[in-house]
């Protein structure tokens, strides 16, 4: 008995150190990023002191092509396109890509916007599935619709890139809810810095907000705790940490709610890849990798303002699916672009990539393993209940600290949730988020990782199967 005790003691001690080490490292990373984002946000907001004055330079905003991929969206496509047409921006065109919808998406668009076939000379800079036809609206000259064979989101976006007329491309997810000023705000980095090749925005949660004509008009809070916890989670993981990485020009993961690219940058890296789970995340990583490695000056910016809103999942099943899918998408994107860890990788390759790989990609594995191991050690009697509770207290304490830090920064910057009662609700959610929700997310993340390891992939239409890889797009040399 004594022999066994002597043999297992180092193991139990190692488990505790693993747990403590992981919790301290992850949360210290968050807190460091939080502190950096405080500095960046202060600087960004200070520069806006004159924004209260009448706007003067809007006529100089570059024209933008908005690309919208649509697959079986007959119910929502018309109001959504109308909302885009109402964006407050001097010059833009909208290209809706009907990606082989099996429902009435195309006929709805044709009827609502009086579309007519248009003899457009093809310019296939990026290869895509067959384009059946290009339509132009008789009501809105800046609206075109491409009807093409089903090829997934990346293929649809590539078709849109081929047809785009303007130097900036804006990719908008069909689930994103915008505000009238969204496009003006997100184009700002291109006006401020000529080497900007991409700009994105972290989405905010729209549940509970007032939406009129598919545009967000008044911010509100969801009634359900699940939605509230997602608000805090998005502030913590998607906004303030990404702002800090953006300051180092190392924001590797920019959610694809709304992203603006310089068209030539997208074309020069070969467009969106059709063989990855999440083309939005992958293309940003690839831009970082190829621009860093070729030593071209560039900037990929994250706009901190609330410009893009999404409907958060309202059931655990929906949330689980989204979380697992995100984990698989991230895994794909990181694997494909692991070459970013290169002597010329800079902050993106040597700081951001290891951080994202350790805490976002492998994070679920480490977190679940740590919790499971500590619990097992406690159940085996390896540590006392007091020790076990101390470890849990540390994990929860750090988690709550990071979540409340994010809320503090939100309060000091944008004050999106201005009413006092909303603040109380969010503070409660910041505590509750660390008592089960984060651990559940880690578990789903681990399952996503497992699925990715076993080759499970999503079809563009939402089905899932194994080892289905569409052919990789090849860049055409000829422009004719």
């Amino acid at each position: 008995m004594m022999d066994a005790a002597v043999n297992t003691e180092p193991l139990f001690l190692a488990v505790q150190w693993l747990f403590v080490g992981y919790v301290v490292a992850m949360n210290s990373g968050y807190l460091a990023l939080y502190l950096l984002s405080v500095v960046c946000l202060r600087r960004s907001l200070e520069g806006r002191a004159l924004d209260v004055l009448p706007k003067v330079a809007t006529a100089y905003q570059p024209p933008v092509t908005i690309i919208v991929g649509a697959h079986n969206e007959q119910a929502s496509i018309s109001p959504w396109v109308r909302a885009l047409l109402h964006l407050d921006y001097p010059e833009f065109e909208i290209i809706v890509v009907n990606d082989g919808s099996r429902d009435a998406t195309l006929s709805t668009l044709r009827r609502e916007f009086r579309l007519a076939l248009f003899p457009e000379a093809a310019w296939k800079r990026l290869s895509t599935r067959t384009v059946h036809g290009i339509y132009r609206s008789a009501l809105f000259p800046n609206l075109r619709v491409i009807d093409k064979a089903h090829g997934g989101k990346a293929d649809a976006l590539n078709a849109g890139v081929n047809a785009a007329r303007y130097p900036l491309l804006c990719s908008v997810n069909a689930r994103s809810i915008l505000q009238r000023h969204s496009l003006s705000r997100i184009v700002q980095p291109f006006l401020e810095d000529p080497v900007t090749i991409a700009a994105g925005a972290s989405p905010r949660i729209a549940n509970g907000s007032a939406i009129s004509d598919a545009l967000l008009t008044k911010v509100g809070l969801p009634r359900q705790m699940l939605g509230l916890m997602q608000i805090v989670e998005y502030l913590r993981t998607e906004l303030f940490s990404r702002i800090a990485w953006s300051a180092l020009n190392a924001a590797l993961v920019i959610p694809g709610g709304i992203t603006v690219f310089r068209k030539e940058a997208i074309v020069s890296v070969g467009g969106y890849r059709t063989d990855v789970m999440d083309p939005d995340i992958e293309v940003i990583l690839r831009l970082h990798r190829l621009y860093r490695l070729s030593r071209k000056p560039y900037r990929i910016a994250l706009v901190p303002d609330p410009v893009c809103w999404i409907e958060a999942p309202e059931t655990l099943a929906q949330l689980r699916r989204r979380r697992m899918r995100w984990q698989r998408g991230l895994s794909d994107a990181l694997m494909v672009n692991r070459g970013l860890v290169h002597p010329r990788g800079g902050a993106a390759g040597w700081l951001a990539f290891p951080y994202v790989a350790l805490f976002e990609w492998l994070g679920p594995l480490l977190e679940v393993t740590s919790y499971a191991a500590v619990t097992a050690v406690w159940l085996c009697g390896g540590i006392s209940t007091l020790a076990f509770l101390s470890l849990l207290l540390m994990a929860a304490g750090f988690g709550v600290l990071v979540s409340v830090s994010a809320l503090t920064l939100e309060e000091a910057s944008f004050r999106v949730y201005a009413q006092p009662r909303r603040l109380g609700t969010l503070l409660t959610s910041a505590v509750a988020e660390n008592l089960g929700y984060r651990q559940l997310q880690a578990w789903w993340g681990l399952r996503g990782l497992w699925q990715w390891l076993h080759g499970a992939r999503d079809h563009p239409d939402g089905r899932k199967d194994a080892q289905q890889k569409p052919p990789r797009p090849k860049r055409r040399q000829s422009s004719g």
Binding site: F118, A121, D193, G397, F398, L401, V404
Partner: protein
Amino acid sequence: MNWVADSDPIVWFALWCGIGALGLTALLVIRILLLRAAFQARETRETRFLSRWRPRLLAAIDTVPVRLPRLKRRDWLPFLSLWNHFQESLRGAARHRLSAMALRMRMDLAARQLLQRGSPPEQLMGMLTLGHLGDRDSWDRIEAVARGPHSQLSLAAARALLLIDAASALRALLPLMASRADWPLSRTQWMLNEAGAEITSTMLSAALEDVPPDDWPRLVALMDAGHPDVVSPVIGRLLAGVQSEEVLIACLKSRHLPFNGARLLRLLEHPAWQVRAQAARVTGRMGHAEFVSALLTRLSDPVWWVRYRAAQSLVQLPSMSPEALWRARQTLNDRFGCEMLDQAVAERRGQ
């Protein structure tokens, strides 16, 4: 069976970390509440302040009030924000009366103090105020900021100098305007437009001598703010003599590009496709029939954009009636050229 005693350092570490984190969280919650309270108090104060001062400023547009109170330090920023808002929205004598009002309230001193000792937002507001007041005494300090590394402050300083004395500011700043990539081109163009073509034209043209050739494309873009009579000959000379693709493209994009048919025809054959595309676009705008043959040739260009611009220009030319276009299409052997012409005709019809 408890090998690890409760006094184990790791347990204590975890325990104190947890307690420390929760303690810091409590401090952050207090910070949030204080921020909220401060924000609400400031908002209430500013709302009250603006409701009192907006009517006074509106009245000052017609007549400068004789008696005006001195403002407290904390009210400077909301007042100047409102005052500058009026200044930016108005023209002519109304602006002068607002300036007189601000001077009577000694806001020039306040603005100088903000510039010297304020935070960056206060410095921005201070410089804009001094600009609108035409405060020459602050010239050196503002010029130092304009030459500084901070993009937003330097740009605001440049504008303030232009407001104080456009001619002197242009003499000092034009090389900076042409070289500072961190000053958005759109914003710089707007500032030059605001200064007026009478002042900017000659200086922009003369600046070509002082600016290194690498900055010429940006300088040519800035020349859009000049008067065509002055700027066009300069751009014409550049277009005729320069080899740099970037400068050629900038000249072809210029609003003041003079007509030079022979040169444009040569540029339609330029090895760089971006130059050919710009030349093709410009020929349509010029509207001369002599370009038809060259544009028809460009319809077979290997680059899509050159074909597109050539087709767009062809359908714009007054000499190209629908019948003439149809006849021209019959002469084309290139499928891509035919498709492009069809597209341009359809686009024209749809407009």
